[in-house]
C-alpha cells in the first residue's frame, strides 16, 4: 500500500509531480489552471507547491503488520464442558479454550477447573429420629445435672456465709424432677438460664430485670425442625444470618438455631469413636444466653444519643488530661532535681580574676549549662519513650516564682554568686574584690555606679565587644527610611557619629538606649507623616471629585 493508493481510494486529485507516468497530460491541465489564475502571479502560484494533502505511510509499520500477519495466530477452540451441578451432571456449556482442536481432543478429560473452588463443609449427618430423641433427653439430663451441681455449689457457698442449717430435702426433690416429662424439663432449663443470667448481672441490679425478661426459654426442638436446620446448614455452608433468614419455623432467634446445631453436633461427634476432642469442646463452648446478652448490650450501646456519646468522649478526654498533668509534674520535678545538682569546681579561681577570665568563665558556664540542658532533654526523651505523649517543658518564668524585679537577684546573678561561693569554699581562699562585689546583693544605684548591667534577654556574642561598634536595634530599617531619618536628625542638629555607623558621639549605655529610642520614634513619626500625607491627598481628590472645592 502506498500513499498513492490512499489518495486513489479517497478520490483525491494527485499533483503532477508525483506522477511521472501521466506527466504530460497533467502538465497541460496545470497550464490551463495557471492561465485561469488571475489574482496571483504565476511565480507565486508555483511557490504554493503541490496541493495534495499529505498521506504518508511509513514503510516500517506496514512491513511490521505484514510480519505479524505472517505469524500463525494461536488457535482457540470453542469447547464444550459440563460443570458439576449439585449432585448430578450439569448442563453442557461452551467456552473458548486456547489450543488447537486436535490438541484439546487428545488431552484426557479433566474435571472443570473451577470445581476445586466448590467447598463442602463437613457437617455431621443427623441420625434417625429415635437416636435424636435419646440425644435430646441426654442433653436435657446433662443440663439438669449441671443445674443441680450449680445449685449445690451455690448452697455450699451459702452455707459458709450464713451459718443456717441446710434443708436436705430440696436436693433430692430436684433430683427426682429429672425424670419428669419434657415440658417440665424445659421449664427447669429456663430457670437455669434465668439463674445464670442472675449471676452474671448481680453487679448491675438495674438491668437485671430487663435482661431476665427478654431472654426467652430454650425452644423445645422437634425432630422435623432439627432436620430442617441441618438441611439449611448444609445448603448455606453455615452462614448463620442466611440460615436464620431462610429458617421456616417461626419464633426462634439466630442464637437458638446455633445452640441447637452446636449441641446436637457435639452429641453426634461424641457418639463417634474417632472424633476430635477439641472439636467437641469448641462446639460445647457456645452459650446461647451469653450470646443473647452480648447482642442486647451491643444494641444498647448503639442506642446512645449523640449527647451521651459526646459526654463519654469528653470524659475520655478529661481522663487523658489528668494523665498528662501527672506526667508533667513528674518531668518538672526531675528538672528541679537536675537544677539542684550544680557543677563542681576544683580548679583555682585565679584565672577568672581578670575581665578576660570572667568572660571565659561565663562561656564555660554556658557550655556546662547547655550540657545540663541536654541531659535534661535526654531524660525527657527517656520519659517520652516510656510514655508516648510528652508534655511541653514549662517555661521557667511561668513555673517558678521568678520575678523580673531589680531588688531580687536575677537568675544569672544567682548563678554567678552561687558559683563563686562554691569555688571559694572549695579553695578556701579569700575572694577578691570583684568576687565579693558579685556576691553581694547590690542595689540599683550601686549596680549603676559600678557599671554592672545584666543582659537578661539580649543575645550577646561571646567575647569582648566595644559599645561604639554595637549596632542599634532601631537601625534595622530599610535603607530609604534610614536616609530620611538621617536628614531629619541633621535638621534637628542632633550629632551622629557620621557615615553609616549610627551612634552617638559618646556611646555610654544610657545614651545608646536613648539614641535607640529616638531613632525608633523618628521612624514612627515618619510613618505617621507619610500616612497623613496620603490621606490628605485622598481627601483632596475625593473633594475635587465631588466638586466641594
Amino acid at each position: 500500500m502506498s500513499a498513492n493508493d490512499i489518495l486513489d481510494v479517497l478520490n483525491v486529485q494527485r499533483d503532477s509531480l508525483d506522477l511521472p507516468a501521466k506527466k504530460k497530460q497533467k502538465v497541460l491541465n496545470d497550464v490551463a489552471a495557471v492561465h485561469r489564475q488571475t489574482g496571483l502571479s504565476r511565480e507565486l502560484y508555483s511557490l504554493l507547491g503541490p496541493n495534495t494533502p499529505p498521506a504518508n505511510l511509513s514503510n516500517a509499520t506496514s512491513s511490521g503488520t505484514k510480519s505479524k500477519f505472517n505469524l500463525k495466530p494461536s488457535p482457540w477452540t470453542r469447547q464444550s464442558f459440563t460443570a458439576q451441578s449439585g449432585d448430578q451432571k450439569g448442563a453442557e456449556f461452551f467456552h473458548w479454550v486456547k489450543g488447537s482442536k486436535e490438541l484439546i481432543e487428545q488431552e484426557p478429560e479433566k474435571p472443570y477447573i473451577f470445581e476445586k473452588f466448590n467447598v463442602r463443609l463437613d457437617i455431621p449427618e443427623l441420625p434417625d429420629e429415635a437416636t435424636f430423641d435419646t440425644y435430646m433427653s441426654e442433653l436435657l439430663q446433662d443440663e439438669e445435672d449441671a443445674r443441680v451441681k450449680e445449685e449445690e455449689r451455690k448452697k455450699v457457698a451459702e452455707e459458709s456465709t450464713k451459718s443456717n442449717s441446710t434443708e436436705p430435702k430440696t436436693e433430692t426433690a430436684t433430683g427426682e424432677k429429672t425424670d419428669t416429662q419434657n415440658e417440665e424439663k424445659t421449664e427447669t432449663g429456663t430457670k437455669e438460664e434465668k439463674r445464670s443470667t442472675h449471676e452474671n448481672k448481680r453487679s448491675a441490679p438495674d438491668e437485671l430485670k430487663n435482661v431476665e425478661q427478654s431472654i426467652p426459654p430454650r425452644h423445645n426442638w422437634t425432630y422435623e425442625e432439627t432436620v430442617h436446620l441441618f438441611e439449611l446448614c448444609n445448603a448455606f455452608e453455615l452462614k448463620w444470618p442466611i440460615i436464620f433468614d431462610r429458617f421456616k419455623y417461626p419464633g426462634l432467634r439466630e442464637e437458638d438455631l446455633k445452640d441447637q446445631f452446636y449441641r446436637v453436633s457435639a452429641k453426634i461427634y461424641q457418639s463417634q469413636p474417632n472424633a476430635s476432642h477439641a472439636l467437641i469442646e469448641s462446639l460445647k463452648s457456645f452459650s446461647r444466653v451469653k450470646e443473647i446478652e452480648r447482642k442486647q448490650y451491643l444494641e444498647k450501646l448503639l442506642k446512645r444519643t449523640p449527647a451521651e456519646i459526646a459526654e463519654e468522649e469528653s470524659l475520655v478526654i478529661e481522663a487523658r488530661r489528668f494523665e498528662l498533668a501527672a506526667k508533667k509534674m513528674l518531668v518538672e520535678r526531675s528538672q528541679l532535681l537536675t537544677l539542684l545538682d550544680s557543677p563542681q569546681v576544683t580548679q583555682s579561681t585565679q584565672q577568672y580574676q581578670s575581665s578576660q577570665g570572667l568572660a571565659n568563665l561565663y562561656n564555660n558556664l554556658m557550655i556546662i549549662d547547655k550540657h545540663q540542658k541536654k541531659r535534661q532533654l535526654q531524660q525527657q526523651l527517656r520519659l517520652a519513650s516510656s510514655s508516648e505523649p510528652l508534655p511541653p517543658p514549662i517555661p521557667s518564668a511561668a513555673s517558678s516564682s521568678y520575678k523580673r524585679d531589680r531588688t531580687f537577684q536575677t537568675q544569672l546573678q544567682q548563678y554567678l554568686s552561687n558559683v563563686l561561693r562554691q569555688s571559694q569554699s572549695v579553695n578556701g581562699r579569700e575572694p577578691n574584690a570583684i568576687q565579693q562585689l558579685l556576691m553581694k546583693r547590690l542595689t540599683v544605684k550601686e549596680e549603676e555606679a559600678y557599671g554592672l548591667h545584666y543582659h537578661a534577654n539580649e543575645r550577646l556574642t561571646p567575647g569582648v565587644m566595644l559599645r561604639s561598634t554595637q549596632r542599634l536595634a532601631g537601625t534595622q530599617q530599610r535603607q530609604s527610611v534610614l536616609r530620611s531619618v538621617n536628614t531629619l536628625l541633621q535638621e534637628l542638629d542632633i550629632p551622629t557619629g557620621g557615615g553609616t555607623t549610627w551612634r552617638p558621639v559618646m556611646p555610654t549605655r544610657k545614651t545608646m538606649a536613648k539614641y535607640d529610642e529616638l531613632i525608633r520614634s523618628v521612624v514612627v513619626l515618619l510613618d505617621v507623616k507619610r500616612a497623613r500625607d496620603k490621606l490628605e491627598s485622598e481627601i483632596k481628590l475625593i473633594k475635587s471629585q465631588r466638586g466641594i472645592e
Binding site: G90, F114, A235, R246, P250, R253, L302
Partner: protein, 463 residues
Amino acid sequence: MSGSAVHGGDEINAIVLDPGSYYTRIGYAGDDFPKITTPSFFAIGPDPPKKGKRTRIFGEAIGVPRSNYEVKPIIKDSLIVDWDAAIEQYKYYFEDVLKINYKEQPILIVEPVWATTEYRQKVVEEFFANFDFPALYLAKSPTCISFQQGRANCLVVDIGHDSVSITPVIDGMSLLRNTTKTHYAGAFLNAQIQDMLNKKYPNLDLCAKYLVRDRTPTKYPEEAKYTQRQLPDNITDSFYEYQQLALWHEIKETMLEVPEKKLASDRETYKDETHKRSFELPLGQLIELGIERFELADSLFDPKSYPLRDQDKFPPTNGEVSIKTMYDDYRPVKRTKRTESSQSSPPPEEEEAVTIRGLSQLVAHTLTSVDIDLRASMAHNIIISGGTSLITQLTERIQADLSNTNPGLKVRLHAVGSSAERSSQSWIGGSVLSSLGTFHQMWVTKEEYQQAGAEKILNQRFR
C-alpha cells in the same frame, strides 16, 4: 487457562434478562451493558377481522401512533403480569433481534426479592416450556447489585419505577426477612408531578409530544403556539398516558432536586429566586418551577406530607413486606413475636403506629432490623441504585438523615457515578455473576428441576 482461573471469569456467553418495571434489559453475560434496553410495555392491536392473534408491538415502535392500539404494561412491581406478552417479547428479542441459538447457552433471570414461590415456579416452568435454554438461574436483584459493586456484605437500596426496596445482602445472598419495600418511587413521583401541575396550572394543556408538529416557545400565561400533527383516528387513552410517561420522566430528570433536610422545617430558603428553573412543555409553553421542584423530590422522603389526590393508587405503606415463601403460613406469628423479643425497646418512631415510611426512615428501619453483629458493616456499605436515585442530591439527603438517626454507626453510601450504570446496575451484576467460573455449577437444568422438585431448587439452589 490459568489466566482465567486467576480472575475467576469463564465466559459462556449466557443470556442475562432483567425485567424491570420500567425497562427490560437483555444482553450477554460478560458485557458491560445490556444489548437491549426496551420499555416493559407493549402495544396491542384490535381484534383481527378474521380469526387470528392480535398483533403485539414491542420496543421503540410502541411510540408510533396507531389507531386502536392499546399500550399495556408487561411488568408491574418487577413481576411479570402479562405472561403472553412477556413470552412474546422475549421471543422477539431472542430470536429476531439477538438471533441466539438457545441450545448454546443458559439464561440468568433477575428476580425481585418479593417474588412468591408460585411466581418463581411459574417463571422457571414458562421458560423451560417456551425456550430451549439448556439451563437457567434465578438471581435476586439485590444479590446482582452487590456483585456489580463487588461488595459481598451490603445494604442495597433500589429506588426504581414501581417500588423502593431495601435488602441486606450477606455473603452475596439476600436476606428475605429483613427486606422492606414501599411504592414511593418513580411512578409515585409521576403522580405527584401530575397533581402538582394540575393544581398549579388548572387550565394548562399538558398534551404529549406526538401530537405536535411544530411549536414556537411562549411563556406560560400566553397561549401556546403550535400546529397539530396529522394522526390516525382512535388513538387510545392508554397510548396517550404512555406518551406522557416521557414528559414525567423529563421533568424528573431535569427539574427535581432533593432539599437538604425535611422541607417543612426550612421552606423559606427554597422559595428563593435562585432556585427557579423553567421547563418547556410539549406545546412549547415555558413554565417556571421553584419550591415545587423541592416539594416533589421531598415527597419521596416524607410521603405523609404530600397526600395525592388519588389516594387509592398509593395506599399508605410502612414498607414491611411479608415475603411469601414456601412457608408463608407461619410468617405472621413470626413477625409479632420478633417485634416483641428482638427489638427489646424500639425507638418511638418504630412503634406499630408507623403507617408511612419515607425513604430515609425506611433505610433506617431496615438497618435496625438487621442483626446487631452485621449492622456496622451494613451501615458502612449502603448501595444506592435504581433510576429514581439519580435525582439531584438524593444520596446526600439519605446520608445526612441516616447519620442523624444513627449517631453510633458510621454510615457510608456507595452510588455508581454513571447514570446509565446506576439504572442498569442489576443487569450488570447479573452479567458479572453469570460469567464467573465458579458460578457455572449453579445452573439448573430442566432434568434436575424435575428430579429434585421445585421446593428444593427454588429455595436452596436459587438462593
